[in-house]
């Protein structure tokens, strides 16, 4: 519904800007594009987890002269994919550190000629001892990275943790694990690269961050800024899986294109995409909490270790978010949080919706239920007694300055879920049935935008351009991949200028055309970039006013006329807006203390599950998702984000398991990596609250990642409620439920 404070467009479900093309099949994704003389590329990858390359032989049966072959020696610039540390090679040179690591690149005019050629490259390795788990990496018997396999560590200290144990009525300990998860966008990774000796390299691709690719290509190819051009094509899902990975596939296509002198397309098939690209970081969290007899947290120690895979890539940032979210939406008067990301010989783990928060929040939300049981109060009550309130400080000592009432959010969620009545009913019915039912709660928060000084460092720039026909065009590097970037940013510009939504278009993200508005990550787009869009739009209007063509108060028609006139006289014109750090945001990067995020979104989710003890399968029968997200910019899109995020969260909890064999994903097909179908998901009921946000466009906070945080703990809490056995690991497959039920039964037998 539109219409707050005279707003007509913000808060309305305006149609998706690129929607018509999508429903008619006209939208062009990277594999739909073809250029003259284009070659197809493929990657020869390591079959071992760690070792030296002794020999490469190009086997018989292939007309090798027909292929373009690229190795590390062909890299004109630096052999790394520029990101945080520059430790990840573009192509392995002498040694490999994970299965599927790229060694050679091949290109050929016939797409079908590649698989057999890749198979015919014979590589002799001398294997080295490899490390596959967090425990192995920590033990340090084999050092595979740096001095001690540790990519990064953080420490948060608040208050005086060491003093709380003596006065604690209860000390509750727990250990919680989350597994890897594959983003499984339905469109696999793909790029096309073309090189021109004068203009440089041009990349088209399915990607989230054109400027990340731009930066990486400069270093790899030794080209200046204006000789690298990156264009985002319609992207069929990303979820973080196309945040940093595309720099790698783009690098590969670019190298082939440069050597071949022809455009090169690389599109991964599903098996390659699943096995070789990034996944969610597996994690292990340990909690030790001092609790008073009335269930209040006195203090605690939290330790998180994440598996980063073979190279640093984004692990420091994922770990950072996990660290800051480790305490959940609760007040900790004293806490020590120690976290680290360690190396293993697996393909590097990377960004996936939630980005460290789902792992940390799974642990604390499971732990809160354990605390509840220990103290003897309900899961709802333990949370009520510990929720953060306005005026409280978080574990990083950030003061909560908004009137968030989590207890009320919880009450609303419980009521919508019919929690109390169902708990009573299930307690009775479970006695008589092999199908046990249970209810579970998860309460959580999600910081929007980059951490601390991150947004200042990004220094985002946004443009709004006046068009010849009187309308305006938004210029951002923020990408659309289903979440609604195009639509919401156009809504913002339209609202800011009093124009109809139809008068606003948005440019295809092309680094030659749009400024760098930062990466499309961290749930920052509506909030941070949107605010800049509003500013730039206002700036455009001011240009017209200063030119004497428009008054401050004007109609849409007047604006259009003024714009047309200005373009006719001066040509297309634009206004830029630069990010300005808000006042009073202070963050200490060393002590990890202060305003970690400009704002948080808040949520309470409730899951109803059935565990069928005939098959040990758990299914979610009903799901209630209540969240406070600042402002609902577009109701259909906002609801869509929550529905999709909850579905992925249900997958994370119950279905999606990566089967690792010596560092390689063995179940790299859709048949064996199980994501929920329409037949597996319940009705998901979505409700919003809006507190506004002075740091976000029209009061928006972040929404994209929030729904990923709640489902797994809510579901596992519900499963424990149903069968009375604690589970501390996701994913929970029927085999895991069975093993635990068996174990409990054998313990009971012994007693």
């Amino acid at each position: 519904m539109a219409g707050r404070q005279g707003e007509h467009i913000i808060g309305a479900s305006t149609p998706r800007k690129e929607g018509r093309d999508k429903v008619t099949g006209r939208a062009r994704y990277i594999d739909d594009l073809s250029f003259p003389h284009m070659l197809y590329g493929a990657t020869v990858r390591s079959r071992i987890p760690r070792g030296t390359i002794k020999k490469i032989n190009f086997g018989p049966g292939i007309a090798w002269n027909e292929y373009v072959v690229v190795s590390a020696k062909d890299i004109p610039g630096k052999n790394y994919i520029a990101l945080i540390e520059n430790d990840q090679p573009c192509l392995a040179d002498g040694g490999v550190n994970h299965p599927e690591e790229a060694i050679l690149l091949l290109a050929h005019p016939d797409r079908h000629a590649l698989a057999k050629a890749v198979a015919a490259v014979e590589i002799e390795y001398e294997p080295l001892p490899a490390v596959f788990t967090i425990e192995e990496s920590e033990r340090g018997d084999t050092i595979i990275w740096g001095k001690d396999n540790t990519f990064k560590s953080y420490r948060i200290e608040k208050g005086d943790v060491d003093s709380v144990w003596a006065n604690a009525d209860y000390i509750v300990e727990g250990e919680y694990f989350t597994g890897a998860q594959e983003q499984l966008y339905i469109e696999t990774n793909g790029v096309i690269a073309a090189f021109d000796a004068e203009k440089g390299i041009k990349i088209w691709g399915s990607l989230q961050c054109p400027y990340y690719v731009h930066k990486a290509m400069m270093a790899l190819l030794g080209l200046p800024e204006d000789q690298v051009r990156v264009v985002q094509t319609e992207t069929g899902g990303a979820f973080g899986g196309k945040e940093e990975y595309p720099s790698m596939i783009a690098a590969h296509a670019a190298l082939l294109a440069m050597k071949a002198g022809q455009p090169v397309k690389i599109v991964y098939d599903r098996a390659e995409d699943m096995a070789a690209t990034t996944k969610r970081h597996p994690s292990r969290t340990r909690h030790r909490t001092a609790v008073s007899k009335d269930g209040k947290i006195l203090g605690g120690e939290i330790e998180i270790v994440m598996d980063g895979g073979a190279y640093v890539t984004l692990s420091p940032v994922v770990l950072s978010r996990a660290t800051i979210h480790a305490g959940g939406p609760y007040y900790w008067p004293n806490v020590r949080v120690r976290t680290k990301a360690v190396a293993t010989n697996t393909p590097p783990h990377g960004a996936f919706r939630g980005f460290g928060a789902p792992q940390a929040l799974f642990a604390i939300e499971r732990h809160m239920d354990k605390i509840a049981r220990t103290v003897g109060v309900s899961p709802a009550e333990i949370r009520r007694r510990n929720f953060l309130k306005q005026g409280d400080t978080t574990i990083t000592e950030q003061e909560i300055r908004e009137p968030i009432d989590l207890a009320k959010l919880l009450d609303r969620a419980l009521e919508l879920a019919d929690y109390d009545a169902k708990k009573r009913r299930f307690a009775e019915e479970n006695k008589r049935s092999a199908c046990k039912k249970g209810m579970g709660i998860a309460a959580f928060l999600h910081g929007a935008g980059f951490t601390g000084s991150g947004e200042r460092y990004l220094a985002s720039v946004v443009g709004v351009e006046g068009r010849a026909d009187g309308g305006v065009r938004v210029l951002v590097s923020s990408t659309e991949f289903g979440q609604g970037t195009n639509t919401v940013l156009c809504q913002i510009a339209a609202e800011a200028l009093g124009l109809p939504y139809e008068d606003v278009t948005i440019a295809q993200p092309d680094t030659m055309v749009v400024p760098n508005s930062g990466p499309t990550v961290a749930s920052r787009t509506a909030m941070v970039v949107g605010k800049l869009v509003a500013s730039a739009a206002q700036g455009l209007k001011q240009t017209l006013i200063a030119a004497g063509l428009l008054r401050e108060t004007c109609t849409a028609e007047e604006f259009r006329a003024a714009c047309r006139e200005h373009v006719a006289t001066h040509g297309e014109f634009r206004s830029l807006a630069n990010y300005e750090s808000p006042e009073g945001i202070f963050w200490d990067d060393v002590k990890y203390r202060g305003e970690a995020y400009a704002t948080y979104s808040w949520a309470v989710y409730v899951a109803e599950v059935t565990v069928d003890l005939t098959t040990y399968s758990a299914t979610v029968d009903d799901f209630v998702a209540v969240q406070e997200i600042g402002r609902v910019m577009n109701p259909v899109l906002a609801r869509g984000q929550i529905l999709g995020g909850v579905a992925q969260g249900i997958g994370f909890a119950l279905y999606e398991k990566v089967e690792w064999r010596d560092g390689r994903m063995a179940n790299s097909q859709m048949t064996n990596y199980i994501m929920p179908t329409s037949a597996d998901l319940p009705t998901i009921r979505v409700y919003f609250e809006e507190l506004g946000n002075k740091h976000g466009a029209f009061g928006a906070k972040g929404i994209g990642e929030l729904p990923m945080d709640g489902p797994a703990p809510a579901i596992v809490n519900a499963i424990e409620d149903a069968v009375g056995i604690p589970f501390n690991r996701v994913p929970m497959l029927p085999e895991d439920i069975f093993a635990a039920v068996e174990h409990e039964a054998s313990l009971a037998g012994v007693r």
Binding site: G19, G25, G644, Q648, I684
Partner: protein, 162 residues
């Protein structure tokens, strides 16, 4: 009976028009549609018949075109998203997808619309369960399916009202 490893001419109807392609018989129908015929609306999501992004109608039946050797399409009537977009009933489905948020990233959408069109043809007034089952071979990673079901139900409702 032909049995050669060479390309052969295969004729079939695509979106109402007779077409003839020269292709290897084991080329996937999906690739022939996309490459030879330039109909890129049909997508590849998995290549193993799991995701349904490649769904087309072949002689009125929903099939995964990644699993059909083009030689088996000889003489068949094939309809893709480009063709189905010309049908008024399907346009109604596309409108309701737009209104209800049935498409987010859009990559599953062509296959989803084909599957929904196929369902509505057999069951003009489907129950939620029937919609769920009819679309169970089409995977969507973005929407959690609900707004897709709502779009299909809405299209069915509107068709009934007319």
């Amino acid at each position: 009976m032909k049995k050669a490893a060479a390309k052969r001419e295969i004729s079939f109807t695509v979106n109402g028009e007779p077409r003839t392609v020269r292709a290897y018989p084991m080329e996937r129908l999906l690739d022939v549609l996309r490459q030879e015929l330039g109909l890129t609306g049909t997508k590849e999501g998995c290549g193993e018949g799991e995701c349904g992004a490649c769904s087309v109608l072949m002689d009125g039946m929903l099939v995964d075109s990644c699993l059909v050797p083009v030689a088996q399409a000889q003489g068949a009537k094939v309809v893709t998203i480009e063709g189905v977009s010309r049908d008024a009933r399907c346009r109604a489905l596309q409108e309701s997808f737009l209104e209800c948020g049935g498409a987010q990233c859009g990559i599953c959408t062509p296959g989803m619309i084909l599957a929904a069109a196929h369902l509505l043809q057999k069951r003009p007034k489907p129950t939620t369960e029937e919609i769920r089952e009819g679309l169970s071979g089409n995977l969507c990673r973005c929407t959690g399916y609900m707004q897709i079901f709502e779009a299909v139900a809405e299209a069915a409702r509107r068709a009934a009202v007319r």
